[in-house]
């Protein structure tokens, strides 16, 4: 594949929508005000398992301003068919987890609706619930595949025999807690029905996807549903699929015959908008005395709800990270009376690489080898499982460049010996990886009679900079200045496109944009540049191109370096320095890319030290369901942080030569910090987050 020549691509241009955002003019989903609007407030189950026996609707209908109270006995029927069973809202009396929607109240004002939702009496027949993920749970089973379509288990050679024969063995179990995506914009939907069908203003990572989900649910052809979403206040995977509130808003609007606004509150989000499954991971590494791996075994257990199966691919990165002749990965799932987990930034890679990269650090210590050298020694020539060549793999270059910039040389590996006043100081390293995906999308490019261009694609900018980068890509493909190119995204009425997910947005959309622009340029050349008064349009569909792409092993790689200081009196760990070095193809806009990578690393820091959704075993609730109790990194938690990259010229990717960068920043950060904490204190924390209570006994 040839990449296109690009003067704008690669430049650190300002975000094209920054002006709207800094002036408060950018409109997000909830900021739409159709005429005759009503407000919907959902009612959530207060038991974790059982049946709804009665809902006292009549009492709340007497309250001022209340228009309707809807539950499964009076709700319109939906047709979930083969779709996500979570979206069958108010269709049955069954309660599968605490916080599930059991009713919705619609009123003239938000206050009336909230008050009615608060006092609405719902009676239940409760059953015993089980909300605890634990090793040896009798319900553990082997799912058919793991997200999105990976084999559940893999095995090569004889890992058990190799472990038994290995000179050095690391056998450790790590756990990661449930974590919630918590984009700053809470999920919100405004639903409007008219003679044509349904329009929703939604906070989503993929307008086409939401349309294709809603249409069959309400028995409509896709053309009768329109999803509009120009600005989205973050998602991190939480908005990549329709969560039940989207169906609930549309259902409520249908029932009352008026437009309805529904915002999920921060507190409600912890039950109904997805989260990262907790994991328990056993990692076993066998090596010779020089640290060359002979066996890698990574076994993960996770949870899903009883409503639907979401099996995270926790051990999948272990399949391709390091060479070893004997290897096994497995995933086991247990269906609990909990909310359904879903995608959260780097599902699989983020928790899985915490475990693997912590184990590699333990192996380095056991073999008395520098942890960077250990990784270099185990670098594979080809993808160890599939045997496919890597289209580019620059992990070693990232490790070396990071070592140079971070000042790794001469590091004394001895843990617990560097004191600065009342602090113990240490450094750690971990590798990072994220797969490269590209999905079919469509786009149109138009030459306007005034000399400008309009490019249309139902892409989403959830803060990634997609709108800006697609404008750069289009401008270069059209050989036009940026300010002559308008890119329209965030609307399902535009040519259908893949969601902003899997770090595949730019690759997928960018390919479609380049092809549409190329087609338009051909038409223009044929007419010697003459644009008729009605303009000229060309379109592209990349389905064939994406299907035909050569099957390389394709991944972005990175190396994360951390320096921590642990207070010897309190056990509090602080990250002093964080450096990420990445190899992710061509970086299309250094300004937006750097922010995204640093943002990912900061979320990794947050994962390492702060984030944990605590399950209340008695009531089946994520207890700490707000920002007062679920802590995410604030500006004062971050000190010196930097992300840099290695130039990578990989023609096997897409016309831009890019790899995705939305997720790789979070991968490996928690392991680098945990490894630094061990180096500082001698305490190996194998259960995230690294809270002071896990360190204080080791450092006093």
């Amino acid at each position: 594949m040839t990449t296109v020549a690009m003067p704008n691509v690669g430049s650190a241009l300002d975000r094209v929508d920054a002006l709207e955002k800094v002036t408060g003019r950018a409109r997000y989903a909830y900021e739409n005000f159709p005429a005759d609007l009503a407000y919907a407030v959902p009612v959530q189950a207060t038991i974790a398992k059982g049946e709804i026996s009665a809902v006292d609707v009549d009492a709340v209908l007497q309250l001022p301003g209340v228009i309707a109270a809807i539950w499964h006995a009076n709700a319109p029927r939906l047709a979930p068919r083969n779709g996500d069973p979570e979206l069958a809202v108010l269709q049955s009396s069954r309660v599968a987890y605490r916080g599930q929607y059991v009713a919705v109240v619609v009123a003239e004002t938000l206050e009336s609706a909230s008050e009615a939702a608060r006092v609405l009496r719902v009676r239940y027949d409760a059953d015993e619930h089980d909300v605890e993920l634990r090793p040896g749970h009798p319900g553990l089973y082997r799912p058919d595949h793991v997200n999105p379509y990976f084999p559940t288990d893999t095995e090569q050679g004889d890992p058990d025999a190799a472990l038994a024969a290995a000179r050095v063995v690391v056998d450790a179990t790590y756990s990661t807690p449930a974590e919630h995506n918590n984009p700053m914009e809470p999920h919100a939907t405004v639903a409007v029905w008219d003679a044509e069908g349904l329009t929703v203003y939604d906070s989503t990572q993929g307008a086409s996807n939401i349309r294709d989900t809603l249409a069959p649910l309400f028995g409509l052809p896709p053309g009768s549903v329109r999803v509009i979403s120009p600005h989205v206040g973050g998602g991190f995977g939480a908005k990549a699929r329709a969560h039940p509130h989207v169906a609930l808003a549309a259902l409520a609007a249908k029932q009352v015959g008026r437009p309805v606004k529904l915002a999920v509150t921060r507190q409600q989000m912890f039950a109904v908008t997805g989260y990262r499954t907790p994991t328990i991971q056993r990692v076993r590494l066998g090596a010779d005395a020089d640290g060359r791996l002979t066996a890698i075994v990574h076994e993960a257990i996770e949870q899903s709800s009883t409503v639907s199966e979401f099996a995270e691919q926790t051990a999948v990165p272990t399949r391709m990270m390091y060479a070893a002749p004997n290897r096994r990965t497995t995933h086991r799932l247990v269906r609990l009376d909990v909310p359904t987990p879903s995608w959260m930034r780097a599902p699989g890679e983020a928790p899985g690489m915490y475990a693997l990269e912590s184990a590699m650090d333990e192996l380095a210590i056991a073999c008395r080898i520098d942890p960077i050298e250990l990784r270099i020694r185990n670098e594979p020539d080809v993808d160890p499982e599939s045997g496919r060549p890597f289209s580019s793999r620059n992990l070693v270059a990232c490790l070396r460049e990071g070592a140079r910039r971070f000042g790794w040389a001469g590091r004394d590996p001895e843990p617990g010996i560097r004191r600065e006043g009342g602090l113990l100081v240490g450094t750690g390293v971990a590798a990072s990886v994220f797969p490269v995906y590209r999905m079919p999308s469509q786009a149109t490019a138009r030459a306007e009679p005034d000399g400008g261009f309009t490019v249309r694609i139902a892409a989403a900018d959830i803060g990634t900079g997609a709108r800006t980068v697609l404008t750069q890509i289009a401008a270069d493909a059209l050989d036009a200045p940026m300010d002559r190119v308008r890119v329209e995204i965030g609307d399902s009425a535009l040519p259908p496109a893949w969601v902003a997910g899997g770090s595949a947005g730019t690759a997928s959309w960018g390919t479609a944009v380049v092809r549409a622009c190329e087609a338009l340029m051909d038409v223009l050349h044929g007419r010697a540049g003459d644009v008729p008064p009605e303009g000229l349009e060309a379109s592209a569909d990349t389905t064939q191109e994406v299907r035909a792409q050569r099957r390389f092993a394709q991944h972005a790689f990175g190396a994360q370096f951390a320096e921590v200081a642990v207070d010897m009196d309190t056990g509090e760990a602080r990250v002093r320095r964080l450096l990420g070095v990445f190899a992710a193809g061509r970086i299309l806009n250094p300004k937006t890319a750097r922010s995204q990578l640093i943002g990912g690393m900061t979320m990794g820091l947050s994962m390492a030290l702060l984030e944990e959704s605590v399950m209340d075993q008695e009531f089946g609730d994520y207890l700490n369901h707000d920002f007062a109790q679920y802590h995410i990194a604030a500006s004062a938690d971050v000190r010196d942080i930097d992300a840099v990259w290695i130039e990578e010229d990989d023609p096997g990717l897409n016309p831009m030569g890019s790899k995705g960068i939305g997720e790789i920043g979070i991968v490996g950060t928690a392991a680098a910090i945990a490894n630094a904490v061990h180096h500082a204190t001698g305490v190996r924390v194998r259960d995230l987050p690294i809270r002071l209570d896990k360190l204080v006994h080791g450092v006093i």
Binding site: D17, K21, G24, K591, T592, R594, S595, F627
Partner: protein, 170 residues
């Protein structure tokens, strides 16, 4: 009840305000000013930060009635004139240039908070002070680095502007 508020220099009134409504709700749902964002409604994230009589507050924690007759400035009121591109406040301009904006949902609150920090600090604040001052404004996208860059840039420019004004003959 009826509430009158001076918002961004204009006297506005909202009718049928329920006593429990927040200033944030009145601004966003009744006065057509959705710039300040609602991300937690409990004073934990700073997304709703606005000026109330010159002090930055979490508008989600202020009852609408408390704002009766008082002056509110929101992110919409920081830029001057109609041509927003030209009339941007230095803080807004610096956020654009430094790349401190991603999804933009934390941005209005952060800009008001940063504006207040810079207006109330005679010198250009140290990075550590900027980090502390902004620690109540959560951002899930950027990792804060570019935001700190933007605040430093805006503070430096404001200080230079002030110095230039002093020097300039009247």
């Amino acid at each position: 009840m009826r509430v009158h508020i001076d918002v961004n220099g204009e006297r506005l009134a909202a009718d049928d305000v329920w006593e429990g409504e927040s200033l944030l709700y009145v601004l966003r749902e009744r006065l057509g000013l959705p710039g300040a964002k609602n991300a937690c409604e409990q004073g934990e994230c700073g997304s709703c930060t606005v000026y109330l009589d010159g002090l930055p507050v979490c508008a989600c924690l202020v009852a609408a009635g408390q704002a009766e007759g008082r002056e509110v400035v929101t992110v919409e009121g920081l830029a001057s004139g109609d041509d927003l591109d030209q009339g941007l406040d230095e803080v807004q301009r610096a956020f654009v240039e430094a790349g401190a904006v991603q999804c933009g949902f934390c941005t209005p609150g952060l800009i008001v908070q940063a504006h207040s920090l810079i207006e109330s600090t005679p010198q250009v604040p140290e990075d550590a002070d900027i980090r502390e001052a902004l620690a109540g404004n959560l951002c899930r996208c950027t990792g804060y680095e570019k935001i700190i860059d933007a605040v430093r840039l805006a503070a430096t420019r404001k200080a230079q502007n002030k110095a230039a004004q002093k020097k300039a003959p009247r």
